[in-house]
Symmetry: C2
């Protein structure tokens, strides 16, 4: 563990893909959607990252309205390390601000950027690959992790990998948008493509230089916020400047323009947990392929994804008779029932809720 | 309305066919399972019967543990008219006790016996047929109503009807147990068979005479209870004697042995509401054949039976996406999901709950 190593965990997001569990004030990363149903995805992410750097060097970037809820699931992270974005402005402003904030503490900082809402099933594999990527980044090359694909997935972006660099990384040649199935199959067969994981590694100063070069408006905004740090006008400046920062992703704004860019292949059971279908795939399932809370009563039922995410502790008996391949999710104020195969269409429901004015349910 | 006309409404029962809505302490008749979802089946039954006799001449026979809940749904029935059976002993003891109780007030009583948990869709037809049956019973012939069958139903018992009696009734020749489909089809075609509705009509004294003759043990037990009426030992006597009364149905114990027996054909949209499937059939359904609480969100969903029977008033958003022909029932402490076609198999669930020791959910 290097004393200049830091991590930024991006924990914003207002996902609707896990309705009714996920809500504006309780997005995906605050939910226990991974195989370990005893803790939130963010809690699991922090636990994993602590193998690379300690709590006091982990910065969490989240939304202003999520500060308290975030603190509750990762109380070990000092509150001064929890950055509250006044409004969401995509990943480039988020990473730029967090990076500047870390650099103000440590100009030699080497930083790992991770998402709070992904699942990793091999913690050992994860730590090994992160260490390798940090070591490459430390030499001055912005680095990413590309997940070794296991199927022709059309839901992820890809990275084309080039020659070995001799340091465990390969040259990252280009980013590929989410492909159609035929393209995904070709990329899988070629062996040269990796899934874009959204993990990034860099020396703070390299990232700031790249932003200076490729996103000068963002850089100047961040300098204003930086200048007000620890002053009386810090909050006020943030509120004024942040909303005007260019809303652009780090992929498009920086990564696709940076050269050289290194990619470390990773294979540690990674998933971005995109839908209830994925939650079911990752979950511990019974002999009939049901993922369900203990104490549920499932008779003649197979392949179901059942979740009870009510806040209150009182036991509810969830009983299924003759039900197959369905998603059944209970929360305090909502119930969802749909075939598992329609998990990707959940937006139809949240869109309808929005149209009907049920903002309290979103 | 004849001043000697009385009604006994049988409101015991501990049905499990409507789990999780129905419970030991909240059986079917206390639930709003009919087309009118604003009132319980018992409330609707009392409202119907009041067209034939007023509240003070309606006697409700129920279980000791249901007295309070019963009073809450039909507060207009005087408490002294609500008979509390210490234990359920089938319909013959229930009717015998209630009849004796009415006779002690009015030896000339003519009594209609009805179930609290049936649905009738034509109130006018109901009143007309009840009046006819009471008029026949008044002449000294025990009378029943036979529902004109509309399909070869295998879930009901049948009554074979003979010649017209000239008073709007026919001779009732025999009772037929629930038939197989082939037999049911033959009975439907013959035109001589009616569904056994469980409605009975008699002068109180005729019923007591029939019980004296065919169930002498029951008659002597009822005399003991009768002797203690309005005395200090009334409750004690009831507790001692009632549990020892022969547990036999009025059909088997009396009706099948009585001659002559009259049957009045009835056609007033009657159903005994045997399962969630029946509730769905009776319910007001939307253009996609869904029966669901207003405010539910059903997208690409057809033929579902959705019910929210939670006691608390706070709105729960029940959302279905791409769901067909399912039963979804929410209560405070349980959730049921099953295909509508498996409504008859619900006992598998309640049996399992019982085996697993979940007595609080039964």
């Amino acid at each position: 563990m290097n004393s200049h190593w830091y991590a930024i965990i991006m924990a914003g997001g207002a996902g609707t893909r896990f309705w009714p569990a996920s809500r504006r004030r309780r997005p995906k990363q605050l939910l226990a959607l991974g195989p370990d149903t005893s803790r939130s995805l963010l809690t699991a992410t922090v636990a994993r990252v602590k193998a690379v750097c300690p709590s006091e060097r982990i910065v969490i970037a989240t939304g202003e309205h999520l500060i308290q809820a975030t603190h509750e699931v990762v109380p070990e992270i000092p509150m001064r390390n929890v950055l509250a974005e006044p409004v969401p402005r995509n990943t480039a402003p988020c990473i730029a601000w967090a990076t500047a904030s870390i650099l103000s503490r440590d100009p030699e900082a080497v930083i790992a950027v991770l998402s709070a809402d992904h699942v990793v099933t091999s913690d050992e594999g994860f730590v090994e690959v992160i260490n390798r990527a940090m070591t490459v980044a430390q030499t001055g090359t912005i680095t990413t992790i590309g997940i070794v694909p296991t199927r022709p997935e059309t839901g992820y972006g890809y990275i084309e990998a080039g020659v070995e660099r001799g340091d465990g990384a390969k040259a990252a040649l280009r980013f590929v948008e989410k492909p159609d199935l035929a393209t995904a199959e070709k990329m899988l067969t070629s062996g040269n493509y990796l899934w874009n994981s959204g993990f990034f590694f860099f020396r703070g100063r390299d990232m700031m230089a790249a932003i200076d070069k490729h996103l000068p408006d963002l850089a100047s905004g961040i300098r204003k916020i930086d200048a007000a740090r620890d002053s009386n006008s810090e909050t006020e400046t943030l509120k004024q400047v942040f909303p005007l920062l260019p809303s652009v992703s780090i992929d498009v704004g920086v990564m696709e323009k940076v050269s050289p860019l290194a990619v470390v292949p990773g294979d540690f059971g990674w998933s971005d947990v995109g839908s209830w279908q994925t939650v079911w795939e990752l979950a511990h399932r019974d002999e009939n392929d049901n993922a369900a809370p203990s104490g549920s009563l499932l008779i003649d039922s197979r392949g179901n994804m059942v979740a009870d995410l009510r806040a209150s502790g009182d036991k509810k008996m969830i009983a299924l008779l003759g039900v197959e391949d369905m998603v059944v999710v209970e929360t305090e104020d909502a119930l969802l029932v749909m075939p598992r195969s329609r998990s990707q269409e959940l937006r139809k429901l949240t869109d309808a809720l929005s149209k009907l004015g049920h903002h309290d349910k979103l």
